[in-house]
Amino acid sequence: MADLVTHVCAVLLPGVLVRSRALGLVAVGTVLPDALGRAVPMALEIAQDNGVGIPDPVIWSFGAFHSPAGLLLASASLSQSFVKGQRTEAFIALTIGAAVHVLIDLLQYHHGRGYPLLAPFSWETYEIGVIGSEVTVDLALPLLAVTAALWAIRLGIRFWRQRNRSESTS
């Protein structure tokens, strides 16, 4: 499974400058590809190793959730669980988050074993491959600390402004 801290921070860090209620959902969208396409099959493999009769093809099929087509369909399905007026917003937010994840993964170099971006129409794999697959491991926690600090400042300023406003009106 990938370093999801970097993926989440890739949305939350620039998100400090963005005013959108859907930002959190975009961040959630960044973990969708690995949550559904990696963590679920890993859990099924563990269950299989412990004697649960799960056929291999069922486990393999979850790889589809790491493809653009699978993520679009998963985002569309999940967005239907939102209240009526917010479904389009939820779909767009989840899709943007998932797209950020796929883009970051594409940047990683896997010796030509990339991702089948056009599946199921083509099984050709693609990768941009400009960074090593483990290069983010040392950066993740400092990135998380910077992101948390900037959000603490943003939320602190908002709290301070609200307090000032309520004091001036009372």
Partner: protein
């Protein structure tokens, strides 16, 4: 008040689920037939090269080692000096005329455990963000920002 779903909203609700089921089946078929993944290496002709990316070493012998990912195992002919079971490696193999996988080069991935831990931490972080920014109402999930 009960509102009957329109045919459009029904399609929007059910369509993606059927689409997903079709895609999962297609993915399973593509993996089974070797179009994606590593199963196709078993039927690959001699003289071809293949990358086994991020496999776990599950056995080390004097003349080689075994790589495992899920239920898939490959025995690789190589000098296994410095290799230990449990390590994750990426290996380029050449299929020789006897059908054996002969290592051309090998790259260790020493930070895979750290990456997995960051994966779990990222899931927890996303869960926290979801708890702070979403709410479950009677008519569905609500984005509260």
């Amino acid at each position: 008040m009960n509102v009957k779903p329109t045919s459009t909203s029904s399609v929007l609700q059910v369509g993606p689920i059927f689409g997903l089921l079709a895609l999962l089946l297609a993915w399973s078929w593509a993996t089974e037939t070797g179009r994606i993944g590593y199963r196709g290496i078993r039927e690959a002709p001699p003289g071809t090269e293949h990358v086994l990316s991020l496999f776990t070493v599950t056995r080390v012998d004097p003349g080689g080692y075994r790589l495992t990912r899920g239920n898939l195992n490959f025995d690789v002919v190589a000098n296994p000096t410095g290799l230990e079971t449990g390590q994750e490696v990426t290996t380029l193999v050449l299929i020789d005329p006897g059908g054996r996988l002969v290592e051309q080069w090998r790259e260790e991935a020493p930070q895979r455990d750290g990456k997995k831990r960051l994966g779990v931490l990222g899931l927890v972080l996303a869960g926290g963000v979801a708890l702070l920014t979403l709410r479950v109402g009677r008519k569905g999930v609500i984005i509260r920002g």
